[in-house]
Structures are given as structure tokens and as C-alpha cells.
Symmetry: D2
Subunit: 142 residues, 4 copies
Amino acid sequence: MPAALQASAAGIEIATDGVVSVGPAFMTLQAAWTAGVAAMVRAGARVIVDEVFLSGAASQERWRKALDGLDVLWVAVRCDPAVAVGRELARGDRVPGQAASQADVVHEGVVYDLEVDTTHAESLACARTIAAAALTSCGPGA
Amino acid sequence: MPAALQASAAGIEIATDGVVSVGPAFMTLQAAWTAGVAAMVRAGARVIVDEVFLSGAASQERWRKALDGLDVLWVAVRCDPAVAVGRELARGDRVPGQAASQADVVHEGVVYDLEVDTTHAESLACARTIAAAALTSCGPGA
Amino acid sequence: MPAALQASAAGIEIATDGVVSVGPAFMTLQAAWTAGVAAMVRAGARVIVDEVFLSGAASQERWRKALDGLDVLWVAVRCDPAVAVGRELARGDRVPGQAASQADVVHEGVVYDLEVDTTHAESLACARTIAAAALTSCGPGA
Amino acid sequence: MPAALQASAAGIEIATDGVVSVGPAFMTLQAAWTAGVAAMVRAGARVIVDEVFLSGAASQERWRKALDGLDVLWVAVRCDPAVAVGRELARGDRVPGQAASQADVVHEGVVYDLEVDTTHAESLACARTIAAAALTSCGPGA
């Protein structure tokens, strides 16, 4: 994203309480990004998209339309909000409040094929669970 | 690129003398990447691709086909090979030899709209030259 | 450490199985580093040293001598070796084998004031446990 | 520096115009840092300190006292302010204005053994000039 769209109402803003707002220019770029990723998959690449569904079900619907006809494994990566807030603080490079404000809304109305929970599970264990499910649902791929 | 394709003959290898070799799996991913970037531009994004044309004119031809019908500004970013070798060393994170082995071949047979030379010009000055030319050739965009 | 001492028998070497060896030039630099950190603390700074005791009790003894007369809180940061190996793999930037080869030896004969275990505890929780103990043993400091 | 001292009047503040202010807690830590670096050199390490002399000659005087009796090569790293401002912008991760506000004051009253100018010279060439002078003035070292 161009620097000019950062901290702009047309682009993306992260308020001092960690709430993220996006504007029309961000939405245009997001749609272009989504279309491009779909084209990569149609051309034979296997792609992992790590996305924060700020609009919950509406975010998923945008991706679902772009990925029409493709094999997709929808995975929820959950984390107890209190633990996520602690990890946000420990990272040291985030505007505090994002974890708390996003913890629930990003899953609202979203339908998943698989769920992992990083509250107590190791990242590697979650990754292996996802990889095994992807192999089953999407095939071995390129 | 998956870790499994790094340092693999099917993926990409950087020899101890800095020569880079790519295999069939890399070429498949590269084609998918190119197709996806083209789709992003068709969907309204303005994209800067910073690419090392390891196969010179053939590399450009692959991009030219993928970008068919789109406004493209082809820019050569040149640097005196001796200076490039010094910068490679100063970076400290590269396999020495890449700068020397790539300096000439990446421009072989490639046709440009604009050329900048970072040997003596500041990065910012080069960037401004490119931005001005892009505005003329591709319009103000989104 | 100078680049010339990396991957040198006089400096530090990380073998393909992840075993780390250090040479005489490394030991000289390590002693200078230790002396300098002690001087910083004597001058009023409160310092956290995150150290891998490759020589176990002998490593601790070197630090103990350098820190003579200063308030020190010795903290063991433990992790189940199998979990540490998984985290090493997930990081993606380490020579595999270091976690396994170091898991036990770094604690051999070392005497601690406090122990935390990151196998199941969050980093932030461990940090808070350590901070509370440091406040008690070393005072509020500068 | 502890997070609590960042953006605090007692620690260090970078104003929206790029002017840097430091407070008493920062000065204490700075003195401890300086004393520790001097102790490292006395213990046999050869150290490169890359410092911005926000107080010009007074900054140098603090270091001169701490390094009393040691071989020091004082090097000015200059850059045309207009070029420095362009590089600051190109980096993309700085509060704009620091380069302009510091360009002159950091050299005010400072006495050097050697001067390099990065306006037109390559970093590697400057580094080699410095290394050659250090070898002459400080000896080959450890």
C-alpha cells in the first residue's frame, strides 16, 4: 500500500485505541489483491492467505466470490482474547487494543472447515493440523 | 516460495559463487505470480514490480505476454558492476558473486522506456524520475 | 562480533547438526562483553542479560566473578526439549539441532534464584514473574 | 532502553518535527552505557561506536572522559544535509526532520582525526578509509 494511504481516511487508519478503519481506496486495493491471489491459484500456485476479517462474514463473502470454483480450506485461527492481548503487549510493536477489539468480530458469521486454537497449542502443531487438512481437501498440488 | 523449494534443484539454488539456478517448480510459481500481478492491475491496482531478469530478454517476454493490453513503464535500474559488488559486500547478507554475475545478463536484450543509474544518483532522485515518467505514461491511477 | 570471526575456528561455528563451537577470539570478546556489562550495572543501569550457558556451570561462574558485589537475579528459562525443537523449526531461521543439543547442557550445574517454564506459560506471564522477583531482590532501581 | 522511557520527558522524545529531546533518566543510562563500552575496550575488545552527538562538543567531552587513556580514532561521517534529508525520506521509517535538524549541530565544536563524506562516496569506500586509519592509530588488535 502506498505511504500516502497510510494514516489517511481514504486508506487505513489505526486509532489510538487500536480500532482499525479502512476507506474507499483501501477497498479498491483490497479487491485488486483478492482478484490477483485468485488468479495465482488458477495459474497453479497453492496459496496461504493469512487474513484478518475485520468485517466478519462480509469479508469472507468477498473472498468467496473471488475464489469461486477453487478448492479452499477455510481455517479459523482462534485465541483466547486475554491471551491475545498479552501477546500483543509482548510483541511491543502494535497499537494496544487491536487484539481486544478484533478478537470476536473477525469470526462473526464466518463459516470454517477447520478450527485451531493457539491459546494452548503450539504454532507448529496448529500448522501440521492445517497442512494435513489442506492435503485432504485440496490435493498435493504443485 | 515454500521452504521445500529453497536450495532444491526443482526450486531455486544460489551456488557458492553466487550464480542463481531455477528449476521447473520455480518456473511454475513464477508464471502464477506473473499472472496474479497482471490480474491485480486489471482490477485497478497500480503495481511496481522490482524484478531481476535472470534470463534477460526471455524474462521480459514472459512479463510482456502476461501484461498484454496494460500500460507498462519498463525501467532499467543500472549500476556500475564494481559499485554493485561493493554494495553487495556492504549489505552483509548476500552470497558474494551475485552482483557480478547478474550485472550484465539481466539487461541483455531487454528494451526499456526509461533508464536510471544508481551508481552516482541518489535513490530518491531515481524514484522521482520514475514516478514522473509513470504519471505521464500510465496516468494518475487509483 | 566481526564478520571475520563468524564461521571461523577462532570465533564461533555452528555445525550442520546445530552444535555450536567457540574459539579463543570468541572467549576474549565474551570476557570483554561480560566486564562491560558489569561496568554498566556499577554505573547505575539495570540490565537484563539473555544468555545461553553453553558451558553450564562454568558459564555461570564466569558471569558470577564479573558481577561480584552486584545484586543479581539468576533465572532459568526452561522449555520442554520437544517443544523447543518445534519452535526452532517454526522460526525458520535457525540451523536445526541447536534446540535439542542445548536443551539440557545449558542448565547443567547452574544455580538459579527463580525458574520459569515457557512450555505451557505465556511469555508475558513469565516476564511478569521475573519482574516481580527482580523488584524484590534488586530494588526499584533507576 | 526500557519501553517506559520511550516517549517520556524523563527518557527520550522525538517531536513531530523530528527534534529529539532527552531527559535525566536517559542521561543516566547514557553514562552507564559509555562507562560499559570503555570497560569492554579496557578488557581487550575493539569497539566501533556509531553515535549521534546531539550536544556536539559536550557529547564528545563525555565520551573523551570515559575513554581516558584508550586509543580512539574520532571519525566524522558527514553528508550534505539536502542529501541526508532525501535518504531519511527514502528509508521510510523515520520521523521526517531529524536529518535536517541534526545535520549541523552534531558536528559543532567536535574535533576529529578523520573525516569521510557519504554524499558522493560509497559506504564501502568510507569503511575502508576508516579501517585503514584505525589500523594505523589503534594497531591490529585482537
